[in-house]
């Protein structure tokens, strides 16, 4: 038996596919919208030629490197800023400023500074992804429920115990929510970084395909990126619900 949710997804995508096919057939413009079948064929071709596999590999390394670094630095710095007033005062203006800046704009600069290889891509992905993680970590650690703190203090908890038994577990759901925001930003970072110049990657596949009027190839990359994004976000949502079920208790889905 299929769950109602899965059925809704199938219906929704089924209708969209039919509409897509109808519009593609009606327009008959292979530059703007190609038939889904053609995208499928292009997908198989790209797999067979080995191009797609290496594009995915390259993009994955850039994504994993940048996002991984963002997690480590974001959480680490968040903890540091929560713990020390001085560190917070020193870095707060920078964090606020850089968070509001479209860091993507620094892409060309990174190309010039770090070259066309992995380093520049990882740096850009890191920069687009790190701030939501950092800010949420900081917020999670700073907004601990006062009642909970009182309770553990009344039992004679040391500052260290307060940190590990209350503050950190209380901040975890915030941190996961930050990761969820960041994962989408990191994917955008990968694509944009590759558009500025690359030798391989899904963003570069989009660029390549557009240059050679290969609309089907372009959609292959777009679909793969979309699926990756959805999978990552859903996975983090799943973890968030498992980690902090009480936060979803009073929410009514409309």
């Amino acid at each position: 038996m299929i769950s109602p949710e899965v059925r809704r997804w199938i219906v929704s995508f089924g209708v969209a596919a039919i509409l897509w096919e109808a519009v593609a057939w009606y327009l008959d413009n292979k530059l703007f919208l190609v038939r889904l079948g053609a995208i499928g064929e292009r997908f198989v071709e790209l797999i067979q030629s080995g191009e797609l596999i290496s594009d995915i590999q390259v993009s994955f390394i850039e994504f994993a490197g940048g996002f991984g670094l963002a997690i480590i630095i974001g959480i680490g710095f968040g903890v540091l800023m929560a713990a020390s007033r001085r560190v917070r005062d020193l870095f707060d203006p920078w964090v606020s400023m850089l968070y509001a800046t479209p860091t993507i704009a620094l892409g060309p600069l990174f190309m010039l500074a770090f070259g066309i290889g992995y380093t520049s891509k990882i740096a850009l992905v890191f920069l687009t992804a790190v701030f939501p993680i950092l800010i949420n970590t900081l917020a999670g650690l700073k907004t601990t429920d006062r009642n909970l703190l009182e309770v553990v203090r009344s039992f004679g908890a040391t500052p260290r115990q307060i940190y590990f038994k209350v503050r950190i577990p209380g901040a975890l759901p915030f941190i996961i929510a930050g990761l969820r925001v960041s994962v989408a930003r990191a994917l955008v970072g990968v694509v944009v970084a590759e558009l500025f110049g690359a030798r391989a990657g899904l963003g570069f596949l989009i660029f390549r395909s557009a240059q050679s009027f290969d609309t089907a190839g372009l959609f292959v990359a777009v679909f793969i990126l979309a699926i990756c994004g959805v999978v990552c976000v859903e996975l983090l949502k799943w973890i968030e619900i498992r980690l902090a079920p009480w936060r979803f208790n009073n929410i009514e889905e409309d």
């Binding site: 909970l148 009182e150 553990v152 039992f155 115990q161 038994k165 079920p245 009480w246």
Partner: protein, 271 residues
């Protein structure tokens, strides 16, 4: 008379607020015997909660001291347990893990703590809920866990700060009878803060009436009603007399407190 379990000597407390010193408590001398149930009533802002926090060692007094078994309290420890108005259960811990947090913090044997916690959860009527999470429980049940947690800490003195204030009236009455039962079964010394005069009379051996800020002891009333007490007692004339007497003691304090609150609000509005 035996040496008191809990006592305070000229306990005073002032806070600094916006550069102004506010005197909250003045010269409190209170003795509570071992196994005694004492309630504190008074108008809002009379420093009842501050008093409990001082006795627990959560905050330091401005002068004077609080003592347990003749030893001065300097920081929260294992000889006193606090039952807060908000249950303060850690939402990511299930009931049993919440209940053992006292012994866990104090570095005691966790296996023993678990056994102890189970028996106290049983005592408060929550057998079978060990693996439930706080968000799966009702307000009354959470307050029972709160109580079991304080009992599991093994302290002989329980400080309770309006633990039933957030509950609905019926649940509250049931919890009061439960508390008297638990108290008589465990023999704890209890200091109980409340707004409800009938609650104070029903539960206590003695009711302390505080004045408005700075809080001082206005009068103490010994409640000589027989135990064990059932809810029906609340409808007896003797009970009514006690409530009436305490209410008359407190009335002018409440009026004064309301007058001051209005005055302060007006001042704040003018600024």
């Amino acid at each position: 008379m035996n040496a008191p379990k809990l006592s305070t000597r000229d306990l005073c407390k002032s806070f600094q607020k916006d550069g102004v010193s506010i005197e909250v408590l003045r010269g409190l001398n209170i003795n509570v015997a071992k196994g005694e149930f004492v309630s504190i009533v008074g108008a809002s802002g009379c420093g009842k909660t501050t008093f409990l926090r001082l006795v627990n060692g959560l905050i330091r007094s401005s002068s004077g001291s609080a003592m347990i078994d003749g030893r001065e309290v300097t920081a929260p420890g294992s000889d006193i347990a606090f039952v807060f108005q908000q249950d303060g259960l850690l939402p990511w811990r299930n009931v049993i893990d919440n209940t053992i947090i006292g012994p866990e913090i104090q570095g005691r044997n966790l296996g023993e703590a678990r056994d102890l916690a189970s028996s106290f959860l049983n005592l408060v009527g929550l057998r079978g809920f060990e693996k439930h999470y706080p968000h799966e429980l009702s307000g009354g049940m959470r307050q029972r866990v709160n109580m079991a947690r304080a009992l599991t800490a093994g302290a002989e003195v329980l400080l309770m700060d309006e633990p039933f204030a957030a509950l609905d009236a019926q649940t509250r009455e049931i919890m009061q009878t439960e508390l008297t039962r638990i108290w008589s079964e465990t023999g704890k010394t209890v200091l109980f803060v409340t707004h409800q005069i009938d609650e104070a009379v029903f539960l206590s051996d003695r009711v302390l009436v505080f004045t408005v800020r700075p809080g001082r002891l206005k009068e103490e009333v010994f409640v000589k009603l027989p135990r064990p007490r059932e809810l029906a007692l609340k409808r007896s004339p003797e009970f009514g007399l006690y409530v009436d007497r305490i209410w008359r003691l407190i009335e002018e304090e409440v009026r004064e407190s309301i007058r001051r609150e209005t005055e302060e609000a007006l001042l704040a509005a003018r600024r």
